[in-house]
């Protein structure tokens, strides 16, 4: 795949090993992956890039995934970005309602199956 055609994914997770794992899996599939370790770094990166998908960890120090997503939706420059959550937690029915309100397209439960991660990402951005 030509570099220009690569879809961009921003992975935001405080666990370095998880960031490396997700990057390795998705890069092998031909995606251009950038990582951030928290919400602040995520927004610094978003100043210089427009990812096709933001994969957000739910539980992070500082801003939680929910707060990062809310901030993304409030900024006219980022409000239309596609967002999916990475989470160890199982969302409740009311939590799923909040995800829907925040236009979160999917949530991937950790630990995840590699093929499942790829399948879900492909479903969102092709």
């Amino acid at each position: 795949m030509l570099n220009m055609a690569k879809k961009k994914i921003l992975v935001v997770d405080d666990e370095a090993s998880l960031r490396e794992l997700v990057s390795a899996i998705l890069e092998q599939e031909g995606y251009d992956v950038t990582t951030a370790e928290d919400g602040e770094e995520c927004f610094r990166k978003l100043k210089n890039m427009k990812p096709d998908l933001v994969l957000l960890d739910m539980m992070m120090p500082g801003m939680s995934g929910r707060e990062v997503c809310e901030k993304i939706r409030k900024d006219p420059k980022t409000k239309d970005l596609k967002v999916a959550f990475l989470t160890v937690a199982k969302f409740s029915e009311s939590g799923k309602g909040v995800l829907s309100d925040m236009k979160v397209l999917d949530y991937i439960t950790k630990p995840f199956d590699n093929d499942d991660l790829i399948k879900r990402v492909k479903k969102i951005i092709g």
């Binding site: 739910m58 539980m59 992070m60 120090p61 500082g62 939680s64 929910r66 707060e67 160890v88 937690a89 199982k90 969302f91 409740s92 029915e93 009311s94 939590g95 909040v98 995800l99």
Partner: protein
């Protein structure tokens, strides 16, 4: 519409109960009365008051102390506790792993089927919000298959900044079966 707390407790396993600090004592009584009606052993996790004060309050209000098993997270932090057969003393509110172990004992050995956290927002004095969310989520996931009810009392304006309490309520609300605001 009147809040049917007993119904909410019986139909949800992970319940967040929000209230104003000024309403706390009154609402706490309502909650305990409803929990008692479930006729199950209650594990009372004392996060904001030592067990000595909690048991005195309960006795004065006519609750049966034999219905409760206690986990005291505060006393050992300040002094050597006087041992009680109906209480586990956790050494420090910083030690979340020990709180989890104590809760597991209360469920496995003391057969508690309702866990009441009074108040989960107090943990924000000692821990960051995401750590409290993580701790709570682990607690809820551990025995998700069993019918153990977990009630987390949360003050809207606790001794921690209001925005931290609000963040905790919103993040926990993503996983809770229901969030009830007691007005």
């Amino acid at each position: 519409m009147t809040l049917d707390l007993l119904h909410e407790i019986e139909s949800n396993k992970f319940l967040i109960i929000l209230m104003e600090e000024r309403e706390y004592l009154l609402k706490l009584d309502e909650i305990i009365k409803s929990v008692e009606k479930t006729r199950t052993k209650i594990c009372y996790v004392c996060l904001s008051k030592p067990v000595k004060d909690v048991t005195e309050d309960l006795k004065n209000k006519g609750f049966r102390i034999s219905d409760f098993f206690f986990i005291d997270v505060l006393t050992s932090h300040y002094q050597e506790p006087e041992m009680r057969s109906n209480c586990i003393f956790v050494r420090s509110p910083h030690n979340l792993a020990s709180i989890r172990v104590a809760i597991k004992k209360a469920v496995d050995e003391k057969k508690c089927s309702v866990i009441l956290f009074d108040t989960i927002s107090t943990l924000l004095i000692y821990q960051q919000t995401h750590t409290v969310v993580d701790f709570t989520h682990h607690l809820v996931s551990e025995d998700a298959k069993e019918n153990i009810k977990k009630l987390f009392i949360m003050l809207k304006h606790d001794t921690v900044p209001a925005e931290e309490s609000e963040r905790l309520a919103k993040d926990l609300g993503m996983f809770a079966d229901k969030t009830i605001s007691m007005e």
